[in-house]
Amino acid sequence: MNCEIFHLRELDVEPYQIREVLRCILHTVMFNRALGLVRPHDVDSELFDLTYVQCGDLTFEKKMEEKIDQLIAWVEKHPNKKITVCLSFYETRSKQNAWFGHKMERLYWEQWYVTLNTTVQQSHLRSKPHHDKLGDALDLMTDERSKRHALLESGLKEVMLQILQQVNEKKDHVPPVTSQDVVSFPYEISIPSSSDSSFGMDMFKRMLQTGPPTMLG
């Protein structure tokens, strides 16, 4: 079984927007892949004029918030960088190893890549000459920020529609549901590692541990 990989549209965000953007996107993906008995929970976004849906699995929510906390801490140390968060779904199989006997390996069947360009907006006041009215500078900053915010909101809605399009376009690779849990399939959320400044290194390490996706049957 090949791994379906989805790259969502890149979004430009400010650090304080990262949490809410990731909540909207990751919850949307998980809700569409949680095939257990789901009691949907509609959530009005705190920062944007949109509503996303949670599947109601507290374990997923907790894990996601922890990862976002780690990511925000990483962003504070590495400002103005492009960050990629990956939500992966996998199956676990027992692999016979000649040297070490049975070994559990993960076979990834779907991966969602969320790419965010973080920008820390500098105040424009410093660039203004002394005698300019403070109010004019504030208005300019507010207008620009409002425009960026509106652009991000529009982009976020497009990303969510993109997710709905792609979860339905590619469904054949979804494994049979065997678990009674709300979240039917094991998953993993990957963020840039705190020790590395590049996301690619983290992916490389994971590949060494689990091996590339293999064909089934």
Partner: protein, 416 residues
């Protein structure tokens, strides 16, 4: 015999899917004031509510209707202007729309949903695929791009023992995913905002304050009837069809974009600002100090979601606790307003006295916080000295004022 059982199961599954999808759409479009109170739930309706592993809170169709699995379901969601009210009645066996008082000109078509299981006999022979679960299905949709060749040849995982025994189980899994996407989609489209506003106003006990209403029409034909606007100007979104033993299940929607919805709403004499006539407040010489003053000379406050958006952008340099406070204030507000108008709103003042104890701590603090944040300058890390003193001076002043309001509120609460 097994084939017959499978066909029966497929038919039951498709019928349940129609009911479920209708509940998902109408549950996100019928304002709560039109919903009948929940009657004692029978086991049948309880099992329908959990079908496809998706539990719905709002299920306008509590009892199963006799839906044909061959005919489509077309749901038109309409925006009614100038307070004309309508209630679409869904009876057990008949779909009926009962308008009370409206004309063609007072309606706008917001959305048109189509749920249809296209029988295999109706599909063109070139689009037909085999039903064996071992074959790769080639789902085509008008809006999706063609995936690269390597992706199209992705092999499906081998069917489980359960799916081999009951082939309709795989279709059930696909339909479950489709239903979840439909649920998500109803919350993403612009009409959902109107639904929320109507629910919000009716829950506050003031259903008549909105000069618009939502209505809908359910029918089983695809022929277009005019509703004051053609559906050609609408945006389109199709979910990738799912193949079942009976046919191809398709869900599509044509919807008005956010700008069109705003224009339609503004035609009803602006519903974006809501005047709270019983808002108690005061300021300066307006006599807002005592109960008599507040009742004789009420201040009008505007509930504005975008006020909070404007304060958010300015508060990005403020620590997380304050950002959370702004978000909390935002949640208590509902209607958007152009942020440019904010500066011109002289009525948006902080009440410094309030005779309504319930509002003392909440509204006074909220109003004070908003004024403080709007008038404050974002704190820079190392601003020039003169600007620093001016900026921090303004913020200090605002915070001092905020503290005085909360002190007054606290004293009043103690004295009660």
């Amino acid at each position: 015999m097994e084939g017959k059982v499978s066909q029966d199961e497929s038919r039951r599954m498709v019928s349940e899917f129609f009911v479920k999808s209708l509940n998902v759409i109408l549950g996100a479009r019928i304002p709560s004031k039109y919903l009948q109170p929940a009657t004692s739930s029978s086991s049948a309706s309880a099992s329908t509510n959990k079908s496809f592993n998706l539990v719905l809170v709002n299920s306008p169709m509590r009892n199963k209707c006799h839906l044909s699995v061959v005919e489509p379901i077309v749901v038109d969601v309409l925006l009614l202007h100038h307070g004309s009210s309508a209630c679409a009645a869904i009876e057990d066996h008949v779909f009926r729309w009962s308008p009370s008082q409206q004309t063609q000109q007072s309606q706008s078509l917001l959305e048109r949903w189509v749920v249809h299981c296209v029988p295999w006999a109706c599909l063109k022979s070139s689009e037909k695929t085999t039903q064996s679960p071992d074959h790769v299905t080639k789902n085509k949709t008008a809006t999706a791009k063609k995936p690269p060749l390597s992706r199209r040849s992705v092999a499906a995982p081998p069917p489980s023992a359960e799916e081999k025994k009951n082939p309709w189980k795989k279709a059930m899994k696909m339909l479950s995913i489709m239903l979840r996407s439909l649920y998500n989609l109803t919350r993403l489209l612009p009409a959902y905002r109107i639904f929320q506003q109507l629910n919000s106003s009716s829950s506050r006990g003031s259903p008549g304050c909105c000069h618009f209403d939502l209505s809908y029409k359910v029918r089983s034909t695809l022929s277009v009837t005019g509703h004051g606007s053609s559906d050609k100007s609408l945006c389109k979104f199709n979910l990738t069809p799912v193949e079942t033993e009976l046919g191809r299940m398709c869900i599509s929607v044509k919807y008005s974009d956010a700008a069109s919805v705003e224009r339609a709403i503004q035609r009803t004499n602006s519903i974006f600002s809501e005047i709270i006539q019983d808002y108690v407040g005061g300021g300066g010489g307006d006599g807002g100090g005592g109960s008599s003053g507040s009742s004789q000379n009420p201040h009008f406050a505007v509930k504005d979601r975008r006020i909070c958006a404007a304060t958010r952008t300015m508060s990005s340099n403020i620590p997380a606790a304050e950002v959370a406070a702004v978000a909390a204030v935002k949640r208590s507000y509902s209607s958007p307003l152009n942020p440019i108008e904010l500066d011109q709103q002289q009525e948006l003042v902080c009440p410094f006295a309030c005779d309504d104890e319930r509002k003392v701590s909440r509204d006074a603090a909220a109003g004070a916080l908003i004024t403080a944040l709007v008038s404050a300058v974002p704190i820079e890390k190392s601003p020039p000295r003169d600007k620093c003193s001016r900026a921090t001076g303004t913020l200090r002043e605002a915070l001092r004022e905020l503290r005085s309001y909360t002190d007054i509120a606290r004293k009043k609460a103690v004295n009660i």
